[in-house]
Amino acid sequence: MELTLEKYLVWMKEFAQKISDQKDYLSDLDSKIGDGDHGNNMARGLKAVSESLAAKKPTDLTTALKITAMALISKVGGAAGPLYGTAFLEMAKLSGQTTDLDQLLVAAVAGLQKRGGAQAGDKTMVDVWLPIVNKLKADQLTDEEIQEAVKSTKPMEAKKGRASYLGERSVGHLDPGAVSSGYLFETMLQAEVGK
């Protein structure tokens, strides 16, 4: 399952579109258990990713991943910025050695956990990334699996990020970062990246 530049660009285009479409929904989710800006943050970031990729026209995957990481890091802000940014930066770093999607995502999720310190069950995007990377490695990733991972955050009590200030009151709500991560992987499947 090799990640090519072409597929990667399609993926990012679809992801940006999805985020833009779901911007208000993501912010709504965030206003329930956070500060209501996740949709705006992600939309601002993905707009920058699209513009930056369009302007710089990368000719190799590493450059494309790096451009993505930098745009996310410098435009998203908040908690999601460094997390998504780190994930793509780790992929960029590894992509010099391998373009295998599984391995890239394994590196990404490791970076993400290192940056944010979240474990499985802490009600963060990590609760989507971890199971999905596992399913992908087992070649079992489907839209349903993604939905399930996203939904798994609903009954959890947040231990990291702003939602953690709610304590028990965070139970019963989807984690916004998990939802946006769900979109990342949905659009990855749509773009047939691994095919």
Binding site: S27, S74, G77, G78, T86
Partner: protein, 331 residues
Amino acid sequence: MKKIINDPQDVVAEMVDGMVRAYPQLVKKIPETFAMIRSDQASMKDKVGIVSGGGSGHEPTHAGFVGKGMLSAAVAGQVFTSPTPDQIYAAIKAVNTGKGVFLVIKNYSGDVMNFDMAKDMAEMDDIPVKSIVVDDDIAVENSLYTQGKRGVAGTVLMHKVLGAAADQGASLDDLEQLAQQVLPHINTIAVALSAATVPEVGKPGFELAEDEIEYGVGIHSEPGYRREKIKPSKELVAELVAKLDNSLQLSKDKKYAILVNGMGATPLMEQYIFTHDVLNKLAEKSIEPTFVKVGNYMTSLDMAGISLTIFELADEKWLDYLNYPVETIAW
């Protein structure tokens, strides 16, 4: 939402420009960023730079405290959203005189991660960087398994203390030690009468009934620990001082500084009445603070409410630092 703004997407850009154009003698912007540094930065020599920052919406924090004797730079993020590492890094580079840079970070996951990334970038440039993560809000219990306590109005006192020390020539290591010593002695707790409305969101972060208040809210409309009917100022003070007494073990044999902080929409009249009640409550414990400051310092947009910070002056020098003269927009 009724606000004096233009496009909600432009609030930070326009605010930052308004600020640097209003006070060119004090602050200037690093081009292409929302980072503001001292206008006299070029003349700075041999002093450690102090950089703070965070989401916008807490004005005059942080840029209002940039200037001689306080911060070297402030980095503004989007509203209630941490600034990005590239901007923080730009500020670090701009204020480093060769003696390194000290970062003051409020304990929010976004802030911590973005400042950490900026620190990594600066270290790749061989700029020595150290930092403190301020977590003065005692409303939230600390715990290894969570994000821990939040950083709120006490951060302003941290800026003041470190800024004075840096201006007097403290080294990067001195500042780190000072910050760590000071940190546990600054405790804050708030009460909200209404929540803030983020311009891009367009509605308040939470709703309180016309006769309700909430104790322990954060500066981004994070929930507090209890809601109840509004009470006289005296009783609000009794609740908040009891919490602070519990965490700081207030004693008549110690010295204290007090910061009464309006959250944005609370008039000074109410802040002074509240202060009056705080001083009475402390007097019951035979405590007379040696330093008191009242006003809007760490706000939360148009939130109505107030926070009380008590800073135990465990070291005599700390009072001197608080009284050290500064040239800033807002101290």
